[in-house]
Symmetry: C2
Subunit: 405 residues, 2 copies
């Protein structure tokens, strides 16, 4: 009874939605022929396959997407004969060819029909998520279709767009993952008491996740992160000697997997009444809440991610805090950190990712954090989906601590 | 309480054993420097890493094994600084370098110290299991150490030997997996009755595997394969309308995962007494049992796999049956079909694998099968480990049906 993996029917729907978007994506990338070339994908997976193919292959297989002169897309699956029937059943291919002896003659024939200008392949020096083609398979392709070697180019732009720009079904699943995350937060709120330690609180979350048959959107050991103040977040796993006391804060960073899609949200609790919160802590929480609002207001399609990061980063400094030592937000999808462009500062370690433009259908986190003098870190994390007009929160954003008293 | 994965301490022991064998393997391969170059290995894994590194890395990392002029092996892990501490704790590296800004200068410096003649990299046109390097990472390496480009060569021979030639700890784990498989077969034997269907019998096996916390060495849907005669094996999943009756045979093909290592064994039951077995079925079973003995007698280090296949194949024809339509046996390790050389015929689809020599420490199956006129298929599968003198069965081989009456 696993709720963690995408059911077959939903998965096929997502693949169909991705196929529908491909002509536009390929035109934007300037590539008229995209080939996924893979084998034994249970050992050496190409992560783009799950979005446009689904399932695994054993022997060398080519999945060809070709923009026709009439702007339509021709989709051909060229697989070993024992994989052909399963591919046909998906009903997403214009043509499925099951080869007997070898792939070579079929691939040559198809490409001479298609007559491509550029052939996009899944390799990238900079971006691991667009680098699913092994070097041996690249060499095999060079050997198989030598006449097309000078047309090979990186399909990074296609692969990025396929994964980043969520379809409606994907957005619905991510929203559902967020809703379940909040539901578990509410259930745990009822169980929180003074004298509980971090490890025991994490275990309470694990129990809720597992009884619902869900998965974790990152490693369970640190999911949720659980921090009882005063503590700096993000460094230490839950400790059994760190215990909730009167007027302490509790922070979590929590993400589940529902039908193959993830959440990544942070919330904070306060053990006491609202009026017990010190001025220092009040100022910190208000800064985080308002910072997230500023970030959400700044997001719009067509601007680079670093511009959004900059606004929130500078606001936090203006409010008298050090800037956060991480990016403002990252994309979320089949995992919590989904790769692609991000709301990152222009630091060397983020390479070219902060300069990538925000696009409709992307899902980002907003997660400023700050450190107080006397009460440890304060942080919240929200998730938004980018729309034509700006962005929308996937679940209502936190406005304050959750009070336990 | 999973018994399916390798516990940390055992895993480190296996890695140490592999490291100890590396100098000999590298000398045989004619490669004095082997580099595993990888990043984000939870998305794009290099399957060789689990045998000599263990765990995952995020940013570009180089694991360097260099044969020194004094015949000793120098082992260097070059990883991002946040991964360095975990690498040091393994105590398997001569040097762990945690880089801050980039890998380039460190890698150049190390290689100029080592001054390699040949640099083995994990790519192979023919063998997926030795093809863990992505094309993007190959390009990154060319860019990072351009002066060494003409020294790059395929490390296939090293990767094959590392995976195929089992260490003592690995052999012990595979033997244990075989013993548990036979234990479950015995437990199920007590539960077998007339009137049970294939699906329900498969479910009985699943219950035994899961209550022991074990894994499956191939997909659960077809593991075990369950066939009530008369039926040809290997094509159809268990059916609810195929039921055990008086004088029928029952066949399974069953493999579990214990501490990360697998089994793959076939057994047959007969619903009746030994004296009820027809002459035709008796002749078939004796042929399979004796065929396996002939195969085991023929195995010795230094001969190619196809020679063993040929002996059993010809014996079966001599006994009046069609030859089996598959190889006599494959290697077993972290999965049931572990890749590398095999006891295969010289057919095109096996490429160069049947010509690879048998070596000490490899684990092979022996699984001839034949089709009778009136009683469906007859087949058994045993597992052997290659020794200096020949080979040894990992559990006592079947001598006959198991009788249910």
């Amino acid at each position: 009874m696993s709720e963690a993996r995408t059911p077959m029917e939903e998965h096929l729907k997502i693949i169909q939605e991705k196929h529908d978007n491909l002509p536009k994506i390929m035109r934007n990338a300037g590539i008229d022929c995209w080939i996924i070339f893979a084998r034994e994908t249970s050992t050496t997976p190409d992560s783009s396959m799950q979005f446009v193919v689904g399932g695994d292959v054993v022997l060398s297989s080519a999945f060809i997407f070709a923009l026709q002169s009439d702007k339509s897309l021709k989709k051909v699956a060229l697989v070993a004969n024992f994989d052909a029937e399963a591919m046909r059943k998906k009903r997403i291919w214009d043509e499925v060819i099951g080869y007997e002896k070898g792939i070579k003659s079929h691939l040559k024939e198809k490409l001479s029909e298609i007559n491509p200008h550029k052939i996009g392949l899944n390799y990238s020096i900079d971006d691991y998520s667009a680098d699913g083609l092994t070097h041996g398979m690249f060499l095999q392709l060079q050997e198989t279709i030598p006449d097309y070697r000078n047309k090979f180019t990186s399909a990074r732009k296609i692969v990025n767009a396929i994964r980043s720009n969520k379809s409606q079904t994907e957005i619905d699943l991510i929203r559902k993952a967020c809703e379940i995350t909040m539901e578990i937060n509410r259930d745990i709120t009822k169980q929180l008491r003074l004298g509980q330690n971090e490890l025991e609180i994490q275990q309470m979350f694990h129990t809720e996740v597992e009884k619902r048959g869900l998965g974790f959107s990152w490693q369970k050991m640190g999911n949720p992160a659980v921090d009882v103040s005063p503590k700096e977040f993000g460094h230490v796993l839950p400790q059994s000697n760190n215990v909730t006391v009167k007027n302490c804060t509790l922070h979590n960073d929590f993400g589940i997997l529902y039908h193959g899609y993830g959440s990544d949200l942070q919330r904070m609790w306060y053990f006491g009444a609202k009026e017990d919160v010190s001025d220092e802590l009040r100022h910190a929480m208000d800064t985080v809440v308002h910072g997230i609002r500023l970030g959400a207001d700044a997001i719009k399609p067509g601007i680079p991610g670093f511009e959004v990061d900059k606004i929130v980063r500078e606001y936090q400094i203006f409010r008298g805090y050090d800037e956060f030592k991480h990016g403002l937000g990252h994309q979320v999808g089949i995992m919590a950190h989904d790769g692609g462009g991000g709301l990152f500062p222009l630091w060397e370690r983020y390479r070219d990712l902060p300069k990538m433009n925000i696009e409709v259908g992307q899902v980002y986190t907003l997660e400023p954090s700050l450190r107080t003098k006397n009460y440890g870190s304060v942080s919240l994390e929200e998730m938004v989906v980018v729309t034509e007009a700006g962005c929308k929160f996937l679940v209502p954003p936190a406005e304050d601590f959750i009070y336990i008293y």
